[in-house]
């Protein structure tokens, strides 16, 4: 099992390098001249030219790419932001935990509430809970999360004074963003759990369990749910991507400075070091989480674990199995 994890992490390295090259190329061809952006309107032509040399924008594409990869992967130094002069690493060391915490909290809440909702909807199908759950999840999937957040701020922050509306001064500041962020997650999880559970409930081994005299609750949670979880775990990757994207918008509404605004301002102000390093780090985090998802996948589904463990398997076979 361990060497499978190592092998899986090793495959991550070429992917991350490829991501770095892709993001570098995209930013290289993005219109907009960073030097002009830094010096402002009144810089003279040779001032701009000197600035471009200082920033290293003057040399050809491959030289720049080489320098960037060398700095990032060998020296592990993402450089300093051109606009604020703030080393990217110090800024990220503060901002990454905030975004990741917000994303994981929204994801956890999404799972913790979504899955039981889905299970109850699946178990008493076409009865009231099922209808309610489906209508609720349909509505929450379709409301943009920033609209939800703004309404929540007005209701809970302004009118009722229950919760703080911005900043991170106390744990209570995290309640509104996490709840607003997790609602779409809860909706989609509930729907996916419901359809997975429906499929499992109709299967033969659930009939066997009933024939053994197990109570409905035991059947639901000891036999049906574990098997229904397997397809859900593969969805966790997509779920995390949505939570990461969602938290970028929520950070702005609740003024919790995380990677979101840092990246979007970085992009609009053509602050290349910021954009490149943030994207690469997000890709690494995302990659590692996907490996975790696969490992959890193995624990839950013995068949996959067997594949991982026996040495004779070759990567291609496993790849095909996972991609299928």
């Amino acid at each position: 099992m361990i060497n499978y994890i190592i092998k899986r992490l090793l495959t991550l390295i070429p992917v991350v390098i490829a991501v770095a090259i892709v993001i570098f190329t995209i930013m290289y061809f993005v219109p907009g001249d960073p030097a002009k952006n830094i010096l402002g309107q009144d810089a003279t032509e040779e001032q701009l030219q000197r600035e471009r040399e200082l920033l290293g924008l003057a040399d050809p594409y491959f030289v720049q790419l080489g320098k960037f990869l060398y700095q990032l992967f060998i020296k592990l130094n993402p450089g300093t932001s051109w606009l604020s002069g703030f080393p990217v690493m110090t800024e990220l060391r503060v901002r990454i935990p905030r975004t990741l915490l917000l994303s994981f909290l929204t994801m956890a809440l999404g799972v913790a509430v979504g899955i039981p909702l889905g299970v109850t909807a699946a178990v008493n199908q076409n009865k009231l809970p099922d209808k309610l759950c489906m209508i609720g999840s349909m509505t929450f999937i379709s409301i943009p999360d920033f609209w939800l957040a703004l309404e929540a701020v007005i209701l809970f922050g302004l009118r009722l004074h229950w919760l703080p509306t911005f900043g991170m001064s106390s744990w209570k500041c995290w309640i509104l963003p996490v709840v607003c962020g997790s609602l779409p997650g809860i909706a989609s999880n509930a729907r996916q759990t419901r359809s997975a559970m429906l499929e499992v409930i109709r299967s033969d081994y659930v009939a066997t369990a009933k024939a053994k005299g197990l109570a409905p609750g035991a059947i639901k949670y000891k036999h049906a749910l574990p098997n229904a979880l397997i397809p859900l775990i593969t969805m966790m990757g997509g779920h995390l991507a949505r939570c990461l994207g969602g938290s970028m918008i929520l950070e702005n509404i609740f003024s919790m400075p995380g990677m979101g605004m840092y990246l979007t301002t970085g992009i609009t102000q053509r602050d290349y070091p910021v954009v490149r390093s943030v994207v690469v780090i997000l890709a690494i985090v995302f990659g590692v989480v996907m490996v975790l998802v696969d490992i959890v996948y193995a624990f839950v589904d013995p068949r996959i674990k067997a594949i991982y463990e026996n040495q004779t398997f070759n990567l291609a076979f496993w790849r095909k199995r996972k991609d299928a």
Binding site: A18, I23, I249
Partner: protein
């Protein structure tokens, strides 16, 4: 002669399959309701020039922020433009955005997926690794970067949203193709040395496409929702175009004073996504009978 006979039979089969799916779809009430609602909205958007009482860009600066009244059924926005016509025209841009982005990612996703699934071996591995890289930049982040790179505007947003969806579709088609490839009727095709292109698109694809169609119908709603998020960040579709996402994002400043400005486009967006999801669910059940409960 043998071939043409097979053609008839093949076409006959497909037609009946289509009619079969439609029949089952009609039986499923939620799907039918979903489809009807979506058609109404799509029609309203297409007929916007006829239905809309005013031209969507016609300003009247002394009639700003009118609450819904007789002349302006849904009131006016901050420049005194009739909000009903802006929403109707907005429908064109939003639905167009959703449809085109999905078609864009469906089109390229299917081609990539078919090559990967059908040929297998090196091409499959190469395409899969490209998808790995493509998907390792999380969804909305990839779209944000593309929007910034391509610049704002409707077409750029469509391309950016479309590119984001390609790897997902590619994987789905490939998985379907992998399972179908071993089936006998494909070996039969080889036997009569039917050109591989024909096999791929005439025979493999119709069987593999159904899950994609389902995911795309639901994808349309999410794409429009995503556009609202992008507009919030200042990217994507810009104010002059009355796309729903941009309308919602622009109206957020007046959320406390004129809530109806964010309510109406939001409702239209919600209804569209609701109807698409209902239709999508119905379609999935109709296309895949064993899933029916």
């Amino acid at each position: 002669m043998l071939n043409s006979e097979k053609e008839q039979q093949g076409r006959g089969k497909k037609q009946s399959q289509l009619r079969e799916v439609l029949k089952r779809l009609m039986k499923n009430k939620t799907a039918a309701v979903g489809m009807v609602i979506f058609l109404i909205i799509a029609l309203a958007s297409v007929l916007a020039p006829v239905l809309a009482p005013y031209d969507y860009a016609q300003m009247n600066l002394d009639e700003t922020f009118q609450t819904p009244s007789r002349e302006h059924l849904l009131g006016t926005d901050e420049y005194g433009r009739d909000y009903l016509s802006r929403i109707l025209y907005g429908g064109r841009f939003s639905l167009g955005l959703g449809l085109c982005a999905q078609l864009f990612s469906l089109f390229f996703g299917v081609i990539l997926g078919c090559f990967a699934g059908y040929y297998g071996g090196k091409t499959d591995n190469l395409i899969m690794r490209i998808c790995d890289v493509w998907q390792s930049i999380p969804g909305i982040l990839f779209t944000i970067i593309l929007c910034a790179a391509l610049g704002t505007g409707w077409i750029n947003t469509v391309i950016a949203m479309g590119l984001g969806g390609i790897p997902g579709n590619c994987r789905m088609i490939r998985a379907q193709l992998l399972s179908l490839r071993e089936r006998e009727f494909i070996e039969a095709e080889h036997a009569i040395n039917c050109p591989s292109g024909k096999i791929m698109f005439r025979h493999l694809l119709p069987n593999a496409i159904s899950p994609l169609i389902v995911s795309s119908t639901m994808g349309i709603g999410n794409t429009i929702n995503g556009a609202a998020g992008l507009a919030y960040l200042g990217l994507g579709v810009q104010p002059p175009t009355p796309e729903w996402g941009a309308l919602i994002s622009a109206a957020r400043a007046q959320i406390r004073y004129y809530p109806y400005l964010i309510l109406y486009p939001g409702l239209m967006l919600a209804i569209t996504i609701l109807s698409l999801n209902m239709f999508g669910d119905g379609l999935r059940d109709a296309m895949d009978p064993k899933l029916k409960n």
